[in-house]
Amino acid sequence: MSYAAAPVPVRLPIWRARFVLFAFVSAFAVLLGRSLWLQAVQTGFLQERGEARYSRVLEVPATRGRILDRRGDALAISTPVKSIWAIPEDLKATAAQLRQLGQLLGVEPRELERRLTGTSRDFVYLKRQIPPETAARVAELGIPGLYQQREFRRYYPGGETMAHVVGFTGVDDIGQEGIELAFQASLAGASGSRRVIKDRLGHVVEDIEAIRAAQDGKDLRLALDSKLQSLAFTALKHAVETHKAKGGALVALDTRTGEVLALANVPSYNPNNRARLTGAQLRNRVITDLFEPGSTLKPFTVALALDLGQVTPETVIQTAPGRLTIARHTIHDAHAGGAMSVAQVIQKSSNVGAAKIALSLPREEMRENFRRVGFGAPPQLGFPGEAAGKVREARTWRPIEQATMAYGHGISVSLIQLARAYTAFARDGELLPLSLVRTDMPVAGRQVLSAETARAMRAMLEAATQPGGTAPRARVMGWRVAGKTGTAHKLENGGYASHKYIASFVGFAPASDPRLVIAVMIDEPSAGQYYGGAVAAPVFAQVMQGALRLMNVPHDAPLTPIELPGEGEEAREST
């Protein structure tokens, strides 16, 4: 028999069907509830988690701005380099690989070994800032645990010539000296970041959003003229070597715009390789060093006397016998002169004459005059470490101090303050604001002297460079120059050192319509000669000649070779 042939109708209880139906319905309800929970309530969290699997935030590096000279030649440029770092625990390299690595990085294998094993840190720089080509060859070694990081390195093509102006950045691309430090904020820029989607292989496939746009640093165009700067540096370096001096400084200012066209310091350093730097090399003698200027200050005392109507250039002053005693102190002239006009006091640089003029002036006026031409206050270049200098309160001056201050002792100034003060003579009495950044626009100054006084001073200062003056060696073929020498004893341990001098020269040209002020200072010339007219004036002449030619300034004197006086024939000053 067969069951199939004779089906027996079986009646199952109805609850079983209902039970199955209920089970299915509730299972679906659970699924529905779960999906509702995920889709509606937890959706934000889940999407975020999902995105984290494929979206990445990428850093967008900003390039540091370039520093250019006034013609647009690069003085500082950042270019990408690689730094090699390792996780010592993960690093697995054969001895041969390590040897190759050492060769590529220029590190002794033993030193490499020490850095990798001698530390418990899990991050070690093996070599920072290597060229990208070398980094590519390191990557070809395929050593696990060795990584590369992109960084920027700053290069300074100008080298030691520009070092003190441009300054340098540290290994983290942050300005540490000079313009790099002063303009850090605008040069640096800000790195940005963006969110992207990456695929399994690490390729970026989609941009989601720019979180922050990268802001590249701004290029900075300096007032500096690299040709003039190079000329100035070479001449200064040569002078410092010839005269066996400790150092020297030079600054050149444009009298129309107040721009700093050249600023040189010796000794200097190479900013691209700063392995062994000494304080003396880093010193910016033009801006941060103070010194007692000596006779280069005489013109300001005389200008004040002219302005107040106390004297005229023709007023005769008795300087014989070349000595002046005030309260047990005696002021000397290098050569006793007898009766001189005020113009001759400047031309021959007579201390006695200047002291006598100063003693006829009210001391408050004298101090006010020094302050007016910019001494005792920082020159506001925006440069780090600008020295303010010191002009003491007038009520503390004793008569001897008032007399010595007339020829620049008992007052301290920086070379750039001195050069700036001379713009008042060059510009008919206007003291110019200075700029390290290119402006290329005529600038108006503050009137500190009357125009007549400034013109009278120009004539006297020109006479100082003529035969019979203290600085015939400052003359330049083809242009008339004007200027003043200074030879000051150095201050040491609170007193004046007897055989240590600072020789200086400040002047401008062409005398008929000044375009350029140049100030030169030589610290401790010790090869025999130490007078400003013999040591500093030739540097001035050399730089001025080149500068006027570079700037295409029309000649105002015939092009005939200049006859230099023989040894000992020129007038000398003792301060």
């Binding site: 690069a74 950042s78 093509p157 092009l559 005939t560």
Partner: protein, 93 residues
């Protein structure tokens, strides 16, 4: 009814393929953009390096040395220099 459903299904399929294709095109275009941007950055870096090189070759001291040593150039004797005065109208070209 069944015909309409079939038609809608076809339309749906077409849309779906269109979406996939445009997404793919978009990614390809984006990849091209990325590589061009990378190239732009590379060229920028190269430009900086070339500028650096130009500055180094063009150093005043080096130019002066080459002019004097290799080319034998020197400033003319002042007695043989003639300065030509421009008429005022011509002085500003």
């Amino acid at each position: 009814m069944a015909k309409l459903n079939l038609l809608l299904l076809l339309v749906l399929l077409a849309c779906a393929f269109g979406l996939v294709t445009s997404q793919h095109q978009g990614r390809k275009a984006f990849a091209a953009l990325e590589s061009e941007l990378a190239r732009a950055r590379e060229l920028d870096v190269e430009y900086g390096q070339l500028q650096l090189e130009a500055s180094t070759w063009g150093l005043h001291a080096r130019v002066a040395k080459v002019a004097a040593d290799t080319l034998g150039l020197r400033a003319p004797d002042p007695r043989r220099v003639r300065v030509i005065e421009l008429a005022p109208a011509q002085s500003r070209p």
